[in-house]
Point group: C2
Chain length 226, copies 2
């Protein structure tokens, strides 16, 4: 048996209770951060609890103390990362309804890029786990990625007034998001093919140009409604 006791003591210290700023991060957070790093650098089965413990600078059984199983830890990571993505995604639409399709798409992509630069690990984890094997023991948290992806469609519909059919909107959002996640979450791969540096401005410019080239026509169609 392990894990932090469920019954909390009466009072909890807030994170910056100690004077002079909080240099000591709670263990649980350290583990979660380390797990995010490892699960963005290695696929689920290749990243080990021991690697995560090392990354977090703790003894590896402590990982099991805070997260009873590897599957639960991974789920927590997926939950964290998809939630972060989902919440950010909502804000990217702000004020776009007043813009032309051209300007709106451009602004949206810029905001997406801003997120991608700030949270490269989140995008890589989503990209890495979008395509799953069909084996019987699917990766834990898979359902969460699926739900997150399905929800992006609703976000889009709510944010932008659209005249297109539900079918057209569905085709557009799935394609747009799949491509964006691939290009930004697997930038090492695509940048490599293009002969560019993954994080370079040139690569991001290529992605933006490409997304506009491909998605401006269908976007116009679902805004105007044919």
């Amino acid at each position: 048996m392990s894990g932090p006791k469920k019954i909390k003591p009466a009072k909890k210290k807030t994170s910056d209770q100690r004077a002079g700023g909080s240099q000591k991060k709670p263990t649980r957070e350290k583990i979660l951060e380390a797990a995010i790093k490892m699960f963005s650098d290695y696929p689920y089965y290749a990243a080990s609890i021991r690697m995560i413990g090392k990354e977090a600078e703790i003894d590896h059984p402590l990982v099991s103390y805070y997260f009873p199983t590897k599957a639960l830890l991974f789920e927590e990571v997926i939950k964290h990362v998809t939630e972060e993505y989902y919440q950010a995604n909502i804000t990217w639409f702000e004020g776009l309804e007043e813009q032309t399709p051209e300007r709106g798409l451009s602004l949206y992509i810029d905001r997406f890029f801003d997120f991608a630069v700030k949270h490269p690990k989140a995008l890589r984890i989503v990209a890495l786990n979008l395509v799953q094997a069909e084996g019987h023991d699917v990766i834990p948290g898979y359902e969460r990625v699926r739900n997150f992806f399905a929800k992006t469609k609703q976000t889009f519909k709510k944010a932008i007034p659209l005249q297109g059919t539900a079918d057209d909107i569905e085709m557009f959002t799935h394609s747009f998001n799949t491509l964006a996640i691939n290009y930004l979450g697997a930038s090492t791969y695509y940048a490599g093919i293009l002969g560019l540096a993954p994080g370079s401005r040139q690569y991001l410019e290529w992605v933006k140009k490409t997304m506009i080239f491909v998605f401006l026509p269908p976007l116009k169609q679902i805004i105007i409604g044919e």
Copy 2:
């Protein structure tokens, strides 16, 4: 030390030398087939030599006898699968140069689907290994997937007379192929979101409609040349 001796005996039996048809498959082939199956159902680190041996109905050390390391076996699988895909891809363009963009794209997609239905494992393996982690020990055969993907651009350019700029063609092919591989190689995922059965006619129809919806406008642009 293991592996079949490099010095071949003077004569080799052809596969159907025995009377009444060849019911006994060479061990090497059985292993390769089993490996293709397992690597399409499980990611590299989750699929084990022992699972592959079981699938091939042989004792697992025989796998090491024919393929000295797991990495080499995986590379062989990637090589086989990308080559199969690459060769098929070339044929999908036959006669398309005389068609309108609408008709040509439709025919191309039909041929692509035909391949997808016949070789679902090939597409799944490519999809599963398109996005890679950035860890130091990248999956073996990764370079091959990359090269294969880069070559599809050349195939397209050679097959169809295009007026568009090299940049536009590059944007088009990478986007088209990425999306096609995702939709067809991860059909369980996307069909699940759409509430359809992965192998169903309805799902394939959705994918076709989507690909035309998204890619017909940019295709016209690179054919006509703006």
